[in-house]
């Protein structure tokens, strides 16, 4: 019964990974027949490329920033939504909309919304602040970073929100009743009752999100194209450029392996944690 699924995963994951291990050690080129073994040269190329490091730096900085913002906003929303009220169902449906939209379209939509002269963002800001605002949202540092983070926060805050809300709803009500009887204040109740109960759900939500955030590609592709210059290259975008725009396939493959090795510790820890939840 497991055979078909296992076969597909073997064909699309293990085999390609083994194949790519070979590609990483040769000079793979469509033009040149016979792929000469070059040892660690491809890896060396990546390690010596300053752009590889700066894109990795941006990937890490951007991932941590957006995940922290999404976590704080998601938690605030979850706390606000945990009690029932009239129209909660409709509000809930609106809040989760971004989760069902392709990240490419999210990037495209924010580009359409922010970019002058067609987007209304500058006009809205001018009205709000009472003075003329003209910002090059997708063409100028540091605004590009803001725009990328904005699109990511827009799309993924609901992710944190939904998971944290489920965690909040699972806190046994008698704990709150006990706290209330003891006259504990709202902030203390949150710190000493809610937080410990929610800790494992928080950890899960943050790790899941972080592992997806480091893959950031689509929004960059649509919103900034890595620019201006190379200032918004993330690791995924960098490897894509090397592999599919410059066709240095072997170098890109070597870089992918290094990236995978960097991530694997986090992946293994998360998977262990997920499995524990399943069997519990």
């Amino acid at each position: 019964m497991v055979a078909p699924a296992v076969l597909i995963i073997l064909a699309f994951s293990i085999y390609p990974l083994l194949f790519s291990l070979w590609v990483a050690f040769v000079n793979y080129d469509f033009q040149i027949p016979g792929h000469a073994f070059v040892g660690l040269q491809n890896f060396q190329q990546v390690i010596e490329d300053p752009l590889a490091w700066s894109s990795l730096g941006l990937t890490i900085a951007l991932s941590i920033t957006v995940v922290v913002i999404e976590f704080v906003l998601g938690l605030a929303l979850a706390l606000a939504m945990v009690k029932t009220f009239r129209g909660r169902g409709i509000v809930m449906s609106i809040l989760i909309i971004p989760l069902f939209i392709s990240p490419v379209i999210v990037g495209q939509s924010w580009a359409l919304f922010l970019q002058r002269p067609f987007g209304p963002a500058d006009y809205l800001l001018s009205q709000l602040l009472g003075r003329q605002i003209q910002i090059s949202w997708v063409g100028e540092v540091p605004w590009v970073y803001f725009s990328i983070a904005l699109a990511d926060v827009w799309q993924w805050t609901p992710f944190m929100f939904v998971i944290l809300l489920a965690g909040l709803a699972a806190v046994p009500p008698h704990l709150y009743e006990a706290a209330e009887l003891d006259g504990v204040g709202a902030i203390q109740t949150f710190l000493y009752v809610t937080m410990p109960q929610l800790a494992s759900v928080m950890l899960l939500a943050v790790t899941l999100r972080l592992l997806d955030a480091v893959k950031l590609f689509d929004v960059i592709f649509m919103l900034t194209g890595g620019g201006p210059g190379t200032s918004t290259y993330t690791t995924s975008f960098y490897l894509y450029q090397i592999g599919f725009q410059q066709f240095h396939l072997s170098i890109a493959t070597a870089g992918s392996w290094l990236f995978l090795i960097l991530l694997s510790a986090v992946i293994i820890a998360l998977v262990r944690r997920l499995l524990k939840a399943e069997t519990a």
Partner: protein, 282 residues
């Protein structure tokens, strides 16, 4: 200085206000860019550059939809996306349900197999897409519907396996045990007893798989070019767009986001399970 302690009702009023503000602001934040895209898709081109911006076009038009669908090959992208997403959904859900059942009931392969399947979900796409690209070129699967269907079946298997695994674990075993006692084989039990019981779970998993495929961009970008391209990849045409295509980009975006949002609303109840691969029941 002694500050007046706010009465309980004043405190809860303020808390209520904070709640309303938090929720209200976020609802606006979610809706404004979406509204802008949808409304711009039906604006005549003369409304693009006005100050203040036009929020309610006086003369809505569908001209951008026809242009997007017919001049930008949107129709073919839409058809491809429908075929690919449907086929991958069927394959992934079928294989995923079988595997999940086996893992949940017979503990096939033990922890290692489970661990291995689950970790596939977290592989960065950029790490596996390069070799898949090279292999697809040799296998003749590059830029074909079949190739993309297989790639997406692989990509979504962890999702369908783990959603169904969590579902089967919740189902009581007693009916299946009764079926074995009555002499049904494992296969018969699976098809005639377990799967019908798990039907709501299968449906939810299928919808999540469909949405995941429908919205995917990276694999499609790299594994297709002129024939098997999907709807999201058409947005490449609007990169560094000139003003003239503003409405077309919006029309295409609306065409693509509407179906997945509608489907998403149908499985709202299962959302937490879908997002956490079954780790939280929600």
């Amino acid at each position: 200085m002694a500050k007046a302690v706010p009465s309980l009702s004043a405190r809860s009023a303020r808390a209520g206000l904070a709640r309303v503000l938090t929720i209200g602001l976020f609802v606006i934040f979610v809706l404004v860019p979406l509204y802008w895209v949808v409304i711009t898709s039906i604006k005549p081109s003369s409304d693009y550059l006005t100050t203040p911006p036009v929020w309610f076009p006086a003369k809505p038009t569908i001209v951008h939809y026809t242009a997007a669908l017919f001049s930008y090959r949107g129709l073919q992208g839409l058809t491809n996306s429908l075929i690919i997403a449907s086929a991958a959904t069927v394959l992934s859900t079928l294989m995923g349900t079988m595997m999940a059942y086996s893992l949940a009931r017979f503990n096939t392969g033990g922890r290692h197999l489970s661990l291995w399947v689950l970790s596939q979900r977290f592989l960065p796409p950029v790490a596996i897409v390069l070799p898949i690209f090279l292999l697809f070129r040799t296998w003749g699967l590059y830029d074909t519907l079949t190739g993309l269907i297989l790639a997406y079946t692989f990509m979504t298997l962890p999702l369908s396996v783990w959603m169904m695994f969590a579902y089967f674990q919740q189902l009581p075993k007693s009916l299946e045990e009764a079926a074995w006692v009555d002499g049904l084989s494992r296969w018969q039990t699976f098809w005639m007893v377990a799967t019908p019981l798990a039907a709501p779970g299968v449906a939810a998993a299928a919808v999540f798989v469909f949405i995941a495929v429908w919205t995917e961009f990276f694999f499609a970008l790299i594994l297709t070019s002129r024939h098997a391209f999907t709807l999201p990849t058409i947005f490449r045409a609007f990169l560094g767009f000139q003003g003239a295509q503003y409405g077309e980009a919006c029309a295409l975006a609306t065409t693509s986001l509407a179906p997945s949002i509608v489907l998403g609303m149908l499985v709202q109840r299962h959302l937490v399970r879908g997002l956490t691969l079954g780790a939280i029941r929600g």
